[in-house]
Amino acid sequence: MDVLVCNKVTKKFGGLMAVSRVDLQVKEASIHSIIGPNGAGKTTLFNCVTGFYTPEEGEILLDGHEITGYSPDRVTKKGIARTYQNIRLFKNMTSVENIMVGMHPHLRSGLLGGIFRDPRTNKEEKNSVEEANRLLAYVGLKGKGDFLSKNLPYGDQRRLEIARALASKPRLLLLDEPSAGMNPSESEDLVDFIRHLRDDLGITIVLIEHHMRVVMSMSEIITVLDFGQKIAEGSPAEIQRNPQVIEAYLGRGAASGLGAPAAASA
């Protein structure tokens, strides 16, 4: 069963085809990577899926229901959560507050509940604080709940962003370059962490990544975009051998001259 399906999704900016007739099928509980050179349209595709952009053509289905053109908040309520390439936490809110904002789709209390603090609202607040602390512990930030998120070190900010995304209990988690700015040992931890996420919670994960080591070691399927078009798709081994992929990354001469391992270490 495919969790996410994109059919011929196209997004233009003026004359530029940022994403052009891209098809994508993401299998349930898989780890699916999207790679491609800079400007290939990876983040644009994410933005189309999460409702930040409305694609000009094509349709996007989540669990078989069309979500094309939904506003971001509705997409989130349907079960897609994401992180950002350049971390976008609520900087001046604490870690716990960040996560509690992430829980928004599941909280029922409203304006009057907030003013009068009826027992139901109180219970909900108490539960969500506990849940937030549980999530913090899960991503390895135990005891940092009261830090302003901007005061956390870089790696912790990445983790917090993932925790915030998890707080909405998503079916599908989109990670935009989660290992950006990490050293090799940190990225290895990240690989373990993402695998655990999938195994523990059964969440389907789509990630955009540049670190080939990360991509190749954990992805089950890789989709390669170049100039907005899908040029290849397959298992890590297949992608490493694909001449078109090598060409996209290293240029025409390289494709004929160099062997497959070159792409893997690009």
Partner: protein, 567 residues
């Protein structure tokens, strides 16, 4: 690194700025207007302080940046800087006596020159400001040379004497009815300002405590050392005591000050509302006065027999007025809320003006009274009691302030408060968290409009009439300023801001002409020295005064810590 400017240059520049500001304050008439009020009876006037304060301050600043190690040299620079500043004033007198400055500056009167020369006839009188400047410069240097502990002690003590002298009328009214205690204290005050002895006593008194408590953390500390149950007890005790004082205020203050109290109260109500819109949700609304006007006019139209539409009582019209205000908030909100930042500010500003102009227009004169306004607005009544005096209205206002404060306080730490905050931080991401930003903004706008409308109805009841001129753009600006001065997003800050910006200028009547200059100066000073506000929200304090350097944040606009220049 830039080469360091020479000491001469620093001193001359700063002294010129100081002298320039003094001349400016003199020529706009501030000095002469403030000269009526004595701080120390028959000694120092508020005008003189205004005249020399810039010179003193700038001298202090220049001494701080002058590179000099020996004490006598620092002292010398101080004398020089003060004298240069003072000579600017001397120059003003000299020019004023040879050319007719009044053609351009109506405040350049002989009276002003008299203040500057302290009445000493001319050739010799020119020396007076130079001499006074030099003495003050020396004092500034002395202050600089003191240890930080003594410096803070003296500054605090002087500030208290200044405030007591300034607020003499207010303090006098409060203290006199207290019989024996009143008479003991009343000799500290003469008919004009403090007596010299009183000032000295107060100075010593404050200095003693301030010296002793130097370096200790704020007054909350002893509470924090208590066991939690006792802490709670103390907190509630403090709140109760505050409440009792609030209840007694109109009796203590009398009729004249009660009216000021009502005005402050109405602004607090509006501030609490706008604080939700701007402080919590981050929506810059510059047309906040519109909802205030709608609240007032709805009450007026529905209760005044003049127009003859309806003869509702105040309380019958009251919910309708609130409803109208919220409705207006939502109607304005719907098209506008897709806009962000500056654009939102401009559109709301326009909306505020539209409402005022509608009220003013001839076209709607049969309904809203045009320039004539609407009179005979019904007074609120409960049973047989009518709220028709400033003092009784105060209680009504107080009641609603408590309600509004409670609502704002509760909302702040609720789910709704968090969504507002998230939206303020990053609207796109907030949407990606499943937050319906349109609805959330409408909620903030509606709540803000509710409080503003509420303030409007009370304002109408207080005046008994409603004129378009009461609802001009400056009301919005006042409310915005008081939030900024008090501290964005802080609820106690609204109270402090209203007391400082609305209360103080009304108590000091002579301020009224210079009100907006005062606002401007206060706002600039706040942004420079205390951007988080007078009573900041705990979080904002963290944001703006960061001990730990935040990780990877290039281009962040936290104000630089004010260090000594040229280091």
């Amino acid at each position: 690194m830039q080469t360091k400017p020479s000491n001469w240059k620093i001193v001359f520049q700063n002294a010129s700025i100081g002298g320039g500001i003094s001349i400016f304050l003199s020529l706009v008439g501030m000095v002469a207007a403030f000269n009526e009020r004595y701080i120390i009876a028959d000694g120092i006037t508020f005008g003189q302080i205004t005249l020399y304060a810039p010179i003193f301050l700038l001298t202090y600043l220049s001494i701080r940046s002058v590179a000099s190690t020996s004490k006598s040299r620092v002292f010398m620079w101080g004398l020089l800087s003060g004298a240069i500043g003072g000579s600017f004033l001397a120059l003003l007198v000299l020019v004023g006596n040879s050319v007719n400055l009044r053609a351009m500056f109506i405040n350049a009167t002989d009276e002003l020159y008299n203040i500057i020369t302290s009445g000493v006839p001319l050739p010799l009188g020119l020396l007076v400001p130079v001499l006074v400047g030099a003495i003050l410069g020396g004092l500034a240097a002395g202050l600089y040379l003191l240890s930080p502990r003594w410096r803070s002690t003296i500054l605090q003590a002087s500030a208290w004497v200044f405030i007591f002298g300034l607020m003499r009328d207010l303090i006098f009214t409060v203290i006199i009815p207290w019989g024996a205690f009143g008479s003991i204290v009343s000799w500290m005050f003469a008919l004009n300002g403090m007596t010299l002895l009183g000032a000295i006593l107060l100075f010593v008194f404050v200095a003693f405590f301030s010296y002793r408590n130097y370096g200790k953390k704020g007054g909350d500390n002893w509470v924090k050392r208590l066991p939690p149950r006792r802490q709670k007890f103390v907190r509630w005790g403090a709140i109760l005591a505050g409440f009792v004082v609030a209840l007694l205020l109109p009796f203590i203050l009398g009729i004249f000050f009660s009216e000021i109290l009502d005005n402050v109260g109405i602004y607090i109500l509006m501030g609490l509302g706008l604080n939700i819109v701007i402080g919590f949700a981050g929506l810059l609304d510059l047309g906040y006065v519109a909802f205030y006007a709608i609240g007032a006019y709805t009450i007026a139209v529905l209760t005044s027999p003049e127009l003859g539409f309806a003869h509702l009582t105040f309380w019958q019209a009251f919910p309708i007025a609130l409803f109208m205000a919220v409705l207006a908030g939502v109607i304005l909100g719907l098209p506008v809320l897709r806009l962000r930042g500056d654009y939102l500010a401009i559109v709301t500003l326009g909306f505020g003006e539209i409402i005022r102009l509608l009220a003013l227009s001839d076209w709607l004169r049969p309904f809203l009274g045009g320039t004539q306004g609407i009179q005979q607005i019904a007074q609120p009544q409960i049973g047989n009691f009518t709220f028709n005096t400033q003092q009784s209205l105060y209680y009504l206002i107080l009641f609603f302030i408590i309600v509004a404060g409670f609502v704002a306080w509760r909302l702040k730490d609720s789910k709704v408060g968090r969504t507002w905050m998230a939206m303020r931080e990053d609207e796109d991401v907030a949407r990606a968290m499943g937050i319906n930003t349109v609805l959330t903004k409408l909620l903030a706008f509606g709540t803000g409009a509710f409080f503003s409308g509420l303030a409007g109805t009370l304002f109408a009841a207080k005046l008994g009439s409603s004129y378009p001129t009461s609802f001009n753009f400056f009301v919005s600006i006042n409310v915005l300023s008081l939030i900024i001065v008090g501290g964005m997003g802080s609820i106690p800050g609204v109270f402090v801001g209203a007391l400082v910006l609305i209360g103080a200028p009304e108590v000091l009547r002579e301020f009224s002409d210079f009100r907006f200059m005062f606002y401007g100066a206060v706002l600039v000073a706040m942004m420079l020295f205390r951007p988080e506000g007078l009573w900041p929200e705990a979080r904002r304090k963290l944001e703006l005064h960061e001990e730990v350097a935040p990780p990877i944040e290039p281009g962040q606009d936290t104000p630089a810590v004010l260090g000594t220049q040229g280091q």
